[in-house]
């Protein structure tokens, strides 16, 4: 079934829409949730919440990219859940990915940081525009989709070593970019 047909089912308020959405994009949604939460039970709950969220959002929304739309909902729900979990439960790929970024993006100054979401969103999108597609893929798979490095290497037909090295260079570049933009002191 095409994405347009699935969206039409949502508009008709047919519960078949959820079944078809799960069939077509369920794996991608589950992967995002699992990578962030690192726990199958939490991930399953998150997938169900994502479907409920999608049901509530379509209509009125009519997404042009259905997979992106549901993955974003899944990611938002999973990160919310992640932040509400206790520290000892944190052991997911999302943690590791955040650790990697946090280590690189730590301010040398101890001044309390205050950022606006819009400002940060603009900065990351401008930075992504400076990367070639291959590096952008590696960055996004690691830090947005929270995929393990081994999986990224497999997808990109590369080695774990090579992906690790490239991530290292991209992080360094991001740090320099944010410094230039005045977002890191």
């Amino acid at each position: 079934m095409t994405d347009t047909e699935i969206i039409n089912l949502f508009f008709e308020r047919s519960e078949q829409a959820i079944t078809e959405l799960d069939k077509k994009h369920g794996n991608a949604v589950a992967r995002v949730a699992r990578n962030i939460l690192g726990n199958t039970q939490d991930a399953e709950e998150c997938v169900n919440d994502t479907y409920l969220g999608t049901w509530n959002a379509i209509p009125p929304h009519k997404p042009s990219l259905l997979r992106t739309f549901v993955c974003k909902i899944a990611r938002n729900l999973a990160t919310k859940k992640y932040h509400s979990n206790t520290a000892e439960k944190r052991n997911s790929q999302y943690d590791l990915a955040l650790d990697e970024l946090e280590e690189y993006l730590s301010d040398s100054d101890s001044v309390e940081e205050e950022y606006e979401a819009k400002e940060l969103g603009e900065a990351i999108n401008s930075f992504l525009a400076t990367l070639n597609r291959s590096d952008r893929f590696i960055f996004m798979r690691r830090y947005w989709y929270s995929d393990p490095v081994q999986d990224i290497a497999k997808m990109a037909d590369s080695t774990t070593n090579s992906v690790t090295v490239r991530l290292f260079r991209i992080r360094e570049k991001l740090r320099q970019y944010l410094e230039k933009e005045g977002l890191l002191v």
Partner: protein
């Protein structure tokens, strides 16, 4: 920056990037478009000749001739070929046979030390194809569709042709700006750069380069990509060009340290060419680090990665702090390492200079940070 801010930042990623990276888009590694280009406002067109050509060839052939000439001039200016006396850059003489409105026109070639770069004009490219270069769209079956330009020297393996950088910018360049500068809507001509790796041709003889447009269909479920050639623009014959290198060996090598392990390293010299700087390094445990035959268990791998990242960080820092000073007092600094092959016991950190050449014979001083490591006597 704390985790919450990083999360907030990642939440702001544009949908197009999320969608684009849902599957791998196989693309050759290329430099980012962070270059500063100083374009002189100079046009080398003799109007008398232009008028004569217009009469002789008609408007469309004249427009084609004009765009080939214009692009050659822009490439030359942008790469500072004349300013820096670049001998490795070869511009094609446009003959009558090349004054054509369709197909592939060879503009120039240059060897940057890593790639044989070939610049061509291709036409006709419809505006909707040109303007959507690099943009992926999801089709009815949930597959991602993308149009790409490719080149081949054997009809079997393909590289990706990318729009040549022809615009003057003070910082990063967006895809829209890149396309605006490289695409001429009047003649439907797109100026492309084809970066040929050395396995695609032999240095001692000319090779044929064919330009195509193909449609990629990426299946997001099984991560497979199908490519279908939908148009062949034509073929040009390319004569490989030389890469002239100036080798500078440091009498007193620059010492540095791996902060993660305390290992010692030395920068023993540089190889300079018009479009690249190779920083030559030796360091402790180098043979093991770059050997492909090392088998490691998980614990050893962790140590290995820690050590390797320590070396990479140290070498990146020193490449960023390297300054080349020229005889007129100007300087270039901050080189990013693109690749680091180990050859004959020396690690060659290859730093591309983008499309901005240097005059290798005019380098009079090399510094790493504040320390002068070489000076012309």
């Amino acid at each position: 920056m704390k985790r919450e801010a990083i999360t907030m930042m990642l939440n702001g990623v544009d949908d197009n990037y999320i969608s684009e990276t849902a599957v791998f888009h196989p693309e050759h590694i290329q430099e980012t478009h962070e270059r500063i280009i100083h374009l002189k406002k100079k046009r080398i067109i003799t109007f008398a000749l232009a008028a004569a050509l217009m009469l002789a060839l008609g408007i469309s052939a004249y427009a084609a001739w004009n765009i080939h000439q214009k692009r050659q001039s822009e490439l030359r200016e942008q790469m500072k070929i004349e300013d820096n006396a670049v001998t490795d850059y070869k511009e094609e003489k446009l003959s009558d046979a090349q004054i054509q409105t369709e197909g592939v026109t060879l503009l120039s070639t240059v060897n940057d030390g890593e790639f044989q770069k070939v610049y061509v004009n291709i036409s006709p490219v419809e505006p909707e194809i040109a303007r959507n270069f690099g943009r992926m769209e999801e089709n009815e079956d949930g597959c991602m569709i993308c149009y790409d330009f490719g080149f081949t020297t054997d009809g079997e393996s393909f590289g990706f042709a990318t729009p040549a950088i022809l615009t003057d910018t003070d910082g990063t360049i967006t895809m829209e700006e890149l396309i605006d500068a490289a695409y001429d809507e009047e003649t439907k001509t797109f100026t492309m750069e084809c970066a040929c790796i050395n396995t695609m041709f032999s240095f001692d003889k000319p090779f044929d380069l064919t330009l195509v447009l193909f449609r990629e269909t990426q299946n997001q479920n099984d991560h497979t990509t199908d490519g279908e050639i939908i148009r062949t623009f034509g073929t040009v014959t390319v004569y490989p060009t030389e890469n002239t290198v100036r080798n500078i060996t440091f009498i007193n090598p620059y010492s540095f340290e791996n902060a993660a392990t305390g290992g010692k390293g030395k920068v023993i010299g540089v190889n300079l060419s018009s479009f690249n700087v190779d920083i030559l390094v030796t360091h402790d445990n180098m043979e093991n680090m770059y050997s492909t035959n090392v088998e490691l268990n998980e614990e050893e791998r962790e140590e290995y990665l820690k050590e390797q990242l320590g070396w990479l960080q140290a070498m990146d820092e020193l490449s960023q702090s390297m300054v080349l000073t020229f005889s007129d007092g100007s300087s270039r600094k901050g080189f990013g390492i693109l690749s680091s092959p180990l050859e004959n016991g020396i690690l060659i950190n290859h730093c591309g200079l983008g499309n901005h050449s240097i005059d290798i014979n005019n380098v009079v001083k090399i510094q790493i940070g504040d320390k002068t490591v070489w000076e012309h006597q």
